[in-house]
């Protein structure tokens, strides 16, 4: 391959001015300007510019008829060039075509913005996820997972992976996908709830990052049918406020990790990280309904849940009143929370539960759980559920569990709200909705 060069990522070229450098990647753009040709090469981390001054330098591209998205290696001298992105470009090029592409991608990848509607973007995600803005957004999801794990690991949590094939629905209701398991009907787990509780009996503090499946026939911009849940569960709590304090640290850890490791991605997307206050403000569900009545003349008292518009109003209020993008709503009504939820000892029609709203959308659900065996039997009877299918789960409580609680962060919701994406389907690699199973 001729003279040796320093192998470098595109984002490292600037550190090698004056040296012979080899980069590889996708030919994102090629344009002729005043007798020279500029090439933009994209690798997994960023882009670099190369400038060809002669036809001979470009000959390998011409011979291979290599168009955009062709895969290439370019050797050249890293040269300071104030007009080039990053202030440096490669010159005196030796180009090798690795994979020659002759067909233009379905959506142009070399414009500043991806110019396509949601359906086209989703249909062509295999290719459009390569666009720098799509890629930056998707990379943030990786960073968020890292921040979640690092924070909890430092606090003594153990990572677990629990089964996704289950014999009975975990959250009750009919919103489960049936699976044909060697001729037997089983289900996809709606959450790791039962297992993470059981594992509190083993490790005291556990977390899991994994897929959850919800057969809810939504057709909106806030739901997908398979999503990534960042779950945690911890023992020996006083009540749900202990869990909320840990969640506060986790949220601070996630945004801290993004701020440290993902500044270029955030800048490209024009996203601003929220400040996470030492104590995130909280409001009780009943007070929240009173507040909405007072501020917006909408009387939803007696409703067991908050409507999306009400969550947005509360988000605005938290911003105005507390200067916070984050708001805990606590004490959701018993009627709306699953049977394992711990009731508020003072007001048993409410629960020791919470949602965390981020910029006016629910991003986390959590709370304290029942921990006494007798309480489970009573709760199942009260809600009309048979106890037999849950016998294995109830064994954890039969043989001793401490007061405990936890939470589940919706990864796509977090990314959606952070970046301000209008549709959650654009906040993940390859979403699943009512009709979409490809790509």
């Amino acid at each position: 391959m001729g003279a040796p060069g320093v192998s470098a990522r595109t984002v490292e070229v600037a550190a090698h001015v004056g040296e012979q450098v080899v980069i590889h990647g996708w030919l994102q753009a090629q344009r002729r300007l005043g007798g020279v040709t500029f090439l933009i090469v994209r690798d997994g981390w960023g882009t670099a510019q190369a400038m060809a001054e002669t036809e001979a330098e470009l000959a390998p591209l011409v011979e291979a008829k290599a168009g955009v998205e062709s895969v290439v290696t370019i050797m050249g001298t890293a040269t300071a060039a104030p007009q080039a992105p990053g202030g440096v470009e490669l010159r005196e090029l030796r180009i090798t075509v690795i994979t020659s592409i002759h067909e233009a991608p379905p959506v142009a990848l070399n414009k500043r913005e991806v110019k396509a509607g949601v359906t086209t973007l989703l249909d062509t995600a295999v290719v459009t996820n390569r666009h720098p803005t799509r890629r930056a957004l998707l990379r943030l999801a990786g960073g968020a997972m890292g921040g979640f794990r690092a924070t909890l690991t430092a606090q003594g949590f153990t990572e677990i992976q629990t089964p996704k094939l289950v014999a009975s629905a975990t959250e009750g209701g009919a919103n489960v996908f049936p699976v044909d398991y060697f001729g037997r009907q089983v289900y996809l787990a709606q959450s790791p709830q039962f297992y993470k509780q059981i594992m509190v009996g083993v490790f005291e503090r556990v977390f899991e990052v994994g897929p959850v499946f919800r057969a809810e026939p939504h057709s909106d911009t806030r739901h997908i049918n398979e999503y990534v849940s960042l779950d945690a569960e911890m023992g020996f709590i006083a009540n749900h406020f202990t869990v909320m304090a840990t969640l506060r640290d986790v949220v601070a850890g996630i945004f801290g990790a993004l701020g440290e490791g993902y500044a270029p991605e955030l800048a490209l997307l024009g996203a601003t990280l929220p400040d996470v206050p030492a104590e995130i403000p909280h409001i009780h569900f009943a007070e929240a309904q009173e507040l909405i009545l007072r501020l917006h003349s909408v009387d939803s008292r007696g409703e067991p849940d908050l409507a999306p518009q009400e969550e947005r109003w509360l988000g605005e209020w938290a911003r105005t009143e507390h200067g916070s993008d984050l708001l805990f709503v606590t004490g959701y009504p018993t009627s709306k929370r699953p049977f394992y939820t711990y009731p508020d000892p003072m007001r048993p029609e409410y629960t020791n539960s919470f949602d965390l709203l981020f910029r006016g959308t629910e991003m986390v659900t959590g709370g304290q759980r029942l921990h006494r065996y007798a309480d489970y039997l009573a709760a199942l009877e009260r809600t009309g559920l048979p106890s037999e299918p849950f016998a294995w789960y109830l064994d954890a409580f039969r043989y001793g569990m401490p007061p405990h609680g936890g939470f589940a962060i919706g990864l796509e919701r977090l990314v959606m709200q952070l970046i301000g994406v209008a549709n959650i389907k654009l906040a993940t690699l390859f979403p699943r909705d009512l009709t979409r199973l490809e790509p």
Copy 2:
């Protein structure tokens, strides 16, 4: 609660000799000996001993009729006691019963070993996973995931989470679980193979930790139907040996993380970490068959795969010949590898693929993949597969992919081989097999 004490984990008590300490956990054992009563309390990290010298100290346990696995808080003075585990015990106790348990667990948790057969252990896993030896083993899985991610993150890999609900089988064959998806038949992903390859086009280097589902009607000690796959995929490789070099670093990173962070667990289980040589020895599939013929007089030449016994023989040979617990077998026959496998350019009946054997059992599978669109079309036609269901996947190659490859580590296989567990079902929290979906 009276006099304040330092809140500590059981494993931290020894650092507080002379101080008033509060621990919490499960009452693992209680035994009277020469006029005093010893209590063993287990929390999420280990155990601590407490000694009661008076009936008054024990009164809360007696009043609550609290048996083993009751959840308690114990305050006491940390006192040096050479005979106690860890050389320290709590004395002058103030006990609070949090959850009182009157029924003994189905399998005793306070013996040195769990005394039960495999079926009982699996049936009662909700409780028996609390046993210190079970727990130590299960915690190692968490450490292995951490080591996997840390190594790859340091090498520029991005973490992804790909869909588990897919429209068509990824690995071919009938071994997929059908899912009823809003009335449409779809499948559970057998691997993230297609998606991780696609994402090489986006991030160049990616990894994923997640569940995979195999509807293989095995009934043996080496297979489960849902397992955790540690997947990686990388672009711009020379051939499968580039991937093997990265895998070597990953394996060293996993065992390094276990050695650093999990020494007590390894000691409890009597497990020895393998040395990971700078270069793991490798042998070509065809040579491996010749070797087996020579050493064991078994002629399997012409067979497209290795039998479990043959893998064990190769493991012994690697140990004897190279002093290594790890051995790469390369160049598996084309007929046995999936359509996306890159053929050996010199001998197209073999492939640029590998398995990594760990102590004589396959723990990792990997290789180089095809990267040219035309090669995919030809491979699908050759194997008699229609290309239409794969159109979305093929788009990645249609619009430019570099030479790439990757691997998938079976987490449970790794734990099984490391600890020397005879049955893989005991190397995971809650296994799924032909008939088992609970707990």
